[in-house]
Symmetry: C2
Subunit: 767 residues, 2 copies
C-alpha cells in the first residue's frame, strides 16, 4: 500500500497528532471544539482533508481499531523516509512526514506553527508522548538525544508505598468518588457541614478507628492510620484536619491517656463518629507553653467530682477543632487535689446535650473565618465551674483514688508532663506527612504544567520553549521535588518506628518527630509558594488548586507545636544527650565523640577541604561526613558557649536566650542529616534496580543541595574551600539536568490520582 | 498627705495599672469585664479595695481629672521610697509600691502573677508604657537599662512621606471612614460590588485622575497618584488593584499610548468612573511573551475600520481586571495593515452597551474565585471579527493615515514595541510600592503583637517573656522591618525620577523598576509569610488580617511582569550596557571599569578580605565596595561565559539559557546595591538629627544583612575571609539588639492608622 495515495500531505501532517491524541481513547468536548477551530484556519488543508479530519474528532465515535491500525501503518511507512535527526516535537514529526509524502503549503514555518498550536491544544507535547510515538513508529533509529525516565514509576511507587500499599491504594480509590470533592464552597457553615459528612463516610469505611485497639473497632495500627492521613492530605486538607481532630487528637488522647473503661465506653463511638469531640489543650493565653495552662480541674472529695474552671477570659480554650460540631472535650487542665497542684492532666468534659444545646456553665464561640481550612469548625470554649464525675479523669498517668488521694505511676511531675505530651507525637508525624502530601500535590500540578506550557521561542517560527526546559524553572522545582522524596522517606520510616515504639524509645522519637515536623512543614510552605509562582497567573486561580493548598497548609508550621519552639526542643534534647555523654570529660571525650576521622588540627579535621574530585564529591562518605561534621561542630560550639555564659554567672535561661539562634541552626543541621540517614535505610533494603539507582541519585542530590545551601558555614569554618563549593554547584547543575527527563515519572510515582489533584491546568488544555 | 492612709496596699498594687490603663481614656467593655473577673480572684484585696477598684472601671464614668491627679500624687510619693533598681514591668512596680505602703498578701509571686495577668489583659505591657509611667512618677533615677526609641516617629514619618505628605495624609484620613472597610465578604459578587462602590468614591475625591493632564480633570502628577496607591495598599488590596486597573492601566494606557482626541474623549470620564474599562494585554497563551500575542487587528481600507479577532480559544484575553464591570477595553493586538504585520498596538474596543449587555461578537467569562483579590472582577475576553473605527487605534506610536498607510515616529519595530511597553513602568513601580505597603501592615501587626504577647517565664512566678525579647523573634522580624524601609526609600525615589523622566531616561528607569518590582514583591511575600507565623494561630484568623494580606498580595510576584522574567530583563539590560562600554577592549578596560581599588591579583582585589575592625565593617566605604564588587564581578563573569559559549558555536539563545541562573543572581546583586544607593541619596539630604542617625543605622543594617546573606559568594570568591563574615554576623546580632527598643517607633513612623490595620490582636486584648 502506498500511503501517499491513501492520505494527502495535509492529512499526513496531522496524523501523528491525531494518533497520540486518541491514544488514551478520550477527546474531551473542549479539545474537539478547539481542533475544529484550528482546522478551519489551516489553509494548507483541502476541504476533503478537513472533512476527513473532522470526521475523526467525534468523541461519541472514536476511530475504530482498524482505522487506528491504518494510521500507524501509514505513519510507519512514511517515518522510514525521514532523515535521521531526532524530532523535537510531534508537530515537527507531522510536518516532516507530510513533506516526505508530498507538497504541503508554501511556508513550513506557518504549517509547523499551526500544528504546534494543536499539539498544545491537546496537551500532548510531553517528552513521554514523543518517545511513545517514535517508538511505535519503530523510529528508534532517529532517537539520539535526551531519553525519558530511566525507571518504572509504578515500581517506584510500590517502593515508596511499601507495606502500606494496600491501605494507600484503598484510600486513593475511595476518594475518586465525587462525593469527596467539595468544589469551591465559600460559606463556612456549608463547607463545615460537607466536611463533616465526608468524615462520617470515612468512619463508615473503618478508616477513623485504625489506630485504636482491635477490641474497640480498630486495627491497633498507627501506620495504617498515618497512611490514610497522608492520602487525605493530597486530596483535601479540611477533610484531613477534621479527620485528624476527631480520630487522632480526640480519640487518640482517650486511647493514650485513658484506661480500659474509657476505651470501652468511648472509642467505638468515636471511631464510628457517633460521638464527636475535641482536643481542648491550647488556651488563648498559652499555646506553646502548655505547662502554664490556666484552666483548673479541682477535685471535690465530698461528691467525688472535678470542677473544671476557666479562671479568666484569656484562659479560654482557643482554636479548638470540632468545637462547633462536637459534644465532648478532652480538656487539659491544672489538676488540684486537696489544695495541691499536680500539673496538667486531661479530663473528659461533655459540653453539648443530645439535642446539640451547649450545657450549663459552658460557653462556645466560633473562631470565624480563617486563612484556610474553612471546612474545619475551630472555636473557643470557656468553663464556669463545670462539674464532671471522677471517672472522667483520663487516668493512665495520674489518678485520684476512692480516698481522694492523688497517685501516679510517674513520680517526677516533669517526666509525667512530658510523658502525657508524648500523646502529641503521632499528631506531629501526621502533620509532617500531611504537609509533604500537600507539597507533592502542588508539585504535581506545577511540574505537569511546566511540561506543557511554552513561552518565548528561540527564533521566530520555532515552537516556544517548554517552561521545564528553562534552567530557572528546573532549579526552582527540582530541589523541591527531591526534598519531598527525602522528607517522605524520613517521615514514613519514623512513623513505622513510632508504630512499634516502647516507652524507652519515645524520647528519641519525640526529638526526631519535632525536627521533622518543623522542617517538613516549612518545606511544604516554601514549595507550595514556589509552585504558585511557577504557574504564574494560573496558579492564582482557585480552579487550579494551589491557592487552597497554600492557604490550608499554612497553619501546619504552627499547630501541633510552633516550628521555632519545636526546633529549640530538638536542640535541648541534643544538648542534654551530649552533656550526659561527657559530663566534664573535656576535649578528649569530645574528640572521641566526633570520631576518629577528625583530629584537633583544622587541616586534618576536614579531609575534604580542597578535594574537588567528582568521585569524592559524589560519594556517600563525603556526604555523611560533611553533614555529621556540621551537626557535631555546632553542638560542641553551643555547649562551649553555654558553659562560658554560665561561668559568667548568667542564669541558665539567659544563657539559653544568648544561644537561641545557634540552637535553631543546630536543630536544622541535625534534622537535615537525619533525613539523609533515613533515606539511606530505605535504599539499603532495595535490590539493585533502576528504581534504586534513581533513589540513590535523589539522595545524592539531597545531600549536595543541603551542603550547597549551607556553604557559607562550610567555607567560614574552613571545612570546605571555595574550589570545592564551586564544584558542588556545578555537579548540582548537572544532576538537575539529569533529573529533567525524569520529573514526569517522579511525580507519577507519588500516585496522586487526577481526582485528588483537581487542577484545570493539569486536566484541561493549556495554551 | 500620707498616701498609705489614702489607699490600702491592695489598691496601691493596682494603681499603676489603672493609671496606665486609663491614660488613653478608653476602657473597652471586654477589658472591663476581664478586670472584674480578675479582681474577684485576688484574695489579697479587701472587699472595700475591690469596691473602690470596680468603681473605677466603668467606661461610661471614667475617673475624673481630680481622681487621676490624686493617683499620680500618691504613686509619686510611694515611688520615691523604692529601691533604685529598674522596674521591668508595671505589675512589678505595683507590687513594690504596695509593699512600700504596707503588707500585701503572703506570697509576692502570687500577687505579681495576678497583677501581671491584668497588665496583659489590658495589653499595656510595652516598654513605652513602662517608660511613660516611670517618667510621670519622676522616677527617672530608677531607670538604667534599655531606653525606648532614640528618635521621634512623627519626625521620621515626615521624612519618609517627604513632599507627598499632604496627599498621603489626606488619603489616610479619608480611609478612616468605615465606608472603606468591607469586613469579611466571602461572596465574590457582593465583594466586587462593594469594591466598585469604593472605587467610585475615590474618584469623587479626585484621586483617580491625579496622573492625567490638568485639562482632563487631573493634576499631571504621577507622584501623587503613586502616593495614593501606596496608602490604599496598606488598607485594602482589592480596592488598590481595582483602582490601579481603572485609573492606572486602563486610563494610563490611553494617556500614554493615545493622543489628544483620545484624552479629551475618555480621560475625564475614566477619572470620574463614568466609563469603566480594562487593560486587555495578557492572553491565555501569552503572558510574559507579550510580543507573540495572537489577537489580531486588521485594517479594512474600504471602511476605514479595524477588525479585532481572537484566532483561537487559547488566544483569548486572560485575567483581565474590570472585565465584568467594564465596558471598554484597551486591546493589545498584532496590527495588520495591507497584509503587513506591524507588531503589537493598542486599540480601544467597546464591549458592553449602555445597558451592560455584552456587544455582538464578544464573549466575556469570569475567572472565578482566586486565592485572593476576590473584590476584583478578573475575566476572559474573546473577539470574533469585531469591527472598530480607525480612530480607536491608540496612535501615539503608530497610526494609519487616510490613505490606509501605516506610519510610526519610531521606525525600528523592536524599539517601538519596547517604547509602548514602557507604559507598564508606572504600574511596576506602583506594584512594588503596594507590596511594600502590604508588608508594612503585616509587620505593624506582628511587631505590635510581639510587643504584647508573652510566652514562657524564665522562672516560676516571674512574668512570661515578651515575644519580641526572644532573639529568634528579633532575627525573624527586624531584618524585614529594615528591608521594608529600604525598599520604600528606593521605590519612592525611583517614583519621583519617573514622574519627571524624559524619554532618554526611560531605559534605565525600566531596568531599575523591573529589579525593584521583583525584589520588593518577593520581600513582601516572604515578610507577610513570616508575620503570619510570628503571630502563631492568631495570625491564621481572618480577624487578624494577615491571611488576607498574604492571599491578596501573593500575585504581585507575577502580575505586571513575572519576577523571574523581569530579573532576566534587568540582567540583559546590564549586559547590553556593559558590552556597549567595552566592545572588545579586553581585560584592561574591564579593570578600569571595576575601578582603581581593584587590581588583578586576588589579595589586592579585596582590601577587606581579612580586616575585622569594627570601624571598617561599619563604614559606608566597605558596604559600597563589597556590594559593588559583587555586582561587577558577576557581570564580568557572565559576559566571559557568554563569549565562551558563542565561541563554541552555541546559538545566542542557548548561551543565554546556560547563563540563566547567573543572570538572576546578577540582577539580584544589582538591585540590592541600587537600594543601598537610593537610601544614601535620601539620607544625604537630611540635616543631622536623631532621625537621620536612625536611618543611617537602618542603612548599615541593610548593607551588612545583604552581605551576610551572600556570604557564601563572598567566601567562595575569596573577597572576604571567614573571620570577617563571622564578625559581620556578630555585628548584625548587636545591631539587632540595638534596634529592639526602636521597633515600636519604627512601625509607628509608617503612619498606618489603626483603621487601616484592622487586626483584633492589635486593637483588642491579647492574652
Amino acid at each position: 500500500m502506498d500511503s501517499s495515495q491513501t492520505f494527502s500531505p495535509g492529512v499526513l501532517s496531522l496524523l501523528p497528532l491525531f494518533y497520540v491524541g486518541w491514544s488514551d481513547s478520550v477527546l474531551s468536548p473542549t479539545e474537539m471544539e478547539a481542533i475544529h477551530g484550528r482546522l478551519e484556519t489551516m489553509d494548507f488543508l483541502t476541504e476533503s482533508d478537513k472533512a476527513y479530519l473532522i470526521r475523526h474528532t467525534d468523541p461519541r465515535n472514536p476511530p475504530s481499531e482498524a482505522v487506528f491500525k491504518e494510521w500507524l501503518q501509514v505513519l510507519r511507512a512514511e517515518a522510514h523516509k525521514l532523515p535521521a535527526d531526532r524530532k523535537q516535537t510531534i508537530a515537527q514529526l507531522g510536518l516532516d512526514i507530510a513533506k516526505a509524502g508530498g507538497h504541503i503549503g508554501d511556508n513550513d514555518a506557518a504549517v509547523l506553527k499551526a500544528l504546534t498550536a494543536i499539539e498544545q491544544e491537546l496537551g500532548i507535547y510531553t517528552q513521554e508522548n514523543l518517545d511513545m510515538i517514535l517508538h511505535q513508529l519503530d523510529a528508534g533509529h532517529i532517537q539520539s538525544a535526551p531519553k525519558s525516565a530511566t525507571f518504572d514509576p509504578a515500581r517506584l511507587q510500590a517502593i515508596l508505598d511499601g507495606k502500606r500499599a494496600a491501605m494507600l491504594n484503598k484510600t486513593r480509590s475511595l476518594l475518586k468518588d465525587p462525593f469527596f470533592w467539595t468544589g469551591t464552597i465559600r460559606d463556612k457553615e456549608e463547607h463545615r457541614s460537607r466536611i463533616l459528612t465526608m468524615t462520617r463516610a470515612l468512619a463508615q469505611q473503618g478508616l477513623g478507628a485504625l489506630a485504636y485497639p482491635k477490641a474497640y473497632g480498630g486495627q491497633n495500627d498507627m501506620g495504617e492510620y498515618a497512611a490514610v492521613f497522608s492520602v487525605l492530605a493530597s486530596h483535601d486538607l479540611s477533610l484531613t484536619v477534621k479527620f485528624g481532630v476527631q480520630f487522632g487528637l480526640f480519640g487518640g488522647a482517650i486511647a493514650r491517656l485513658g484506661t480500659d473503661e474509657h476505651h470501652r465506653l468511648y472509642l467505638p463511638r468515636i471511631g464510628a463518629t457517633e460521638l464527636l469531640g475535641c482536643f481542648a489543650m491550647t488556651e488563648t493565653g498559652h499555646g506553646s507553653n502548655v505547662k502554664d495552662l490556666e484552666t483548673t480541674a479541682t477535685y471535690n472529695p465530698d461528691t467525688r467530682t472535678f470542677t473544671i474552671h476557666t479562671p479568666h477570659e484569656g484562659a479560654g480554650k482557643e482554636y479548638i477543632g470540632n468545637a462547633l460540631h462536637g459534644s465532648m472535650a478532652v480538656v487539659f487542665a491544672q489538676l488540684v487535689v486537696n489544695g495541691e497542684q499536680h500539673g496538667i492532666h486531661a479530663l473528659l468534659v461533655p459540653y453539648r446535650d443530645a439535642s446539640g444545646q451547649v450545657l450549663p456553665g459552658i460557653r462556645v464561640a466560633d473562631c470565624g473565618y480563617k486563612m484556610g481550612l474553612n471546612g474545619v469548625d475551630n472555636g473557643r470554649i470557656w468553663f464556669d465551674h463545670v462539674v464532671v464525675p471522677r471517672e472522667n479523669l483520663l487516668n493512665r498517668y495520674g489518678d485520684v483514688d476512692d480516698a481522694g488521694q492523688y497517685s501516679s505511676p510517674i513520680k517526677n511531675p516533669n517526666k509525667r508532663f512530658f510523658t502525657m505530651l508524648g500523646a502529641l507525637v503521632g499528631g506531629r508525624l501526621c502533620v509532617g506527612l500531611g504537609a509533604v502530601s500537600a507539597a507533592k500535590t502542588a508539585l504535581h500540578i506545577a511540574i505537569q504544567y511546566g511540561l506543557k506550557r511554552r513561552q518565548f521561542s528561540p527564533r521566530d517560527g520555532e515552537p516556544e520553549t517548554i517552561l521545564m526546559d528553562y534552567p530557572t524553572h528546573q532549579h526552582r522545582l527540582i530541589p523541591l521535588l527531591v526534598k519531598s522524596y527525602a522528607y517522605q522517606m524520613a517521615l514514613t520510616n519514623l512513623g513505622e518506628q513510632y508504630a512499634v515504639a516502647t516507652e524507652d524509645d519515645m524520647r528519641k522519637i519525640e526529638t526526631k518527630a519535632a525536627g521533622l515536623k518543623a522542617m517538613a512543614t516549612w518545606h511544604a510552605t516554601h514549595s507550595i509558594q514556589t509552585c504558585r509562582e511557577a504557574c504564574g497567573g494560573k496558579g492564582y486561580l482557585t480552579e487550579n488548586r494551589i491557592g487552597d493548598l497554600k492557604a490550608d497548609s499554612d497553619i501546619f508550621t504552627t499547630f501541633e507545636g510552633d516550628n521555632t519552639v519545636l526546633l529549640q526542643l530538638v536542640a535541648k534534647g541534643l544538648l542534654t544527650e551530649f552533656r550526659q555523654s561527657f559530663h566534664d570529660d573535656g576535649f578528649g571525650a569530645v574528640m572521641r565523640y566526633l570520631g576518629s576521622k577528625i583530629s584537633n588540627t583544622w587541616a586534618e579535621m576536614s579531609p575534604f577541604a580542597s578535594n574537588t574530585s567528582l568521585e569524592q564529591l559524589l560519594s556517600d562518605d563525603f556526604h555523611g561526613e560533611a553533614l555529621r561534621y556540621r551537626e557535631k561542630k555546632m553542638l560542641i560550639s553551643i555547649s562551649d558557649r553555654m558553659r562560658d555564659y554560665l561561668k559568667k554567672r548568667l542564669s541558665a535561661y539567659d544563657a539559653f536566650l544568648q544561644c537561641q539562634m545557634h540552637m535553631i541552626a543546630l536543630a536544622e543541621a541535625y534534622t537535615e542529616r537525619l533525613v539523609w540517614r533515613e533515606m539511606g535505610k530505605t535504599i539499603q533494603q532495595l535490590p539493585e534496580s533502576p528504581e534504586r539507582i534513581m533513589l540513590e541519585k535523589i539522595r545524592r542530590y539531597y545531600a549536595l543541595h543541603t551542603i550547597d545551601q549551607a556553604k557559607g558555614w562550610y567555607l567560614e569554618t574552613g571545612y570546605l574551600e571555595g574550589s570545592v563549593t564551586k564544584t558542588i554547584r556545578r555537579i548540582l547543575h548537572k544532576l538537575t539536568q539529569e533529573l529533567r527527563p525524569e520529573v514526569a515519572a517522579l511525580v507519577t510515582a507519588w500516585g496522586i490520582p487526577e481526582s485528588s489533584v483537581r487542577a484545570e491546568i493539569v486536566w484541561g488544555n493549556v495554551h
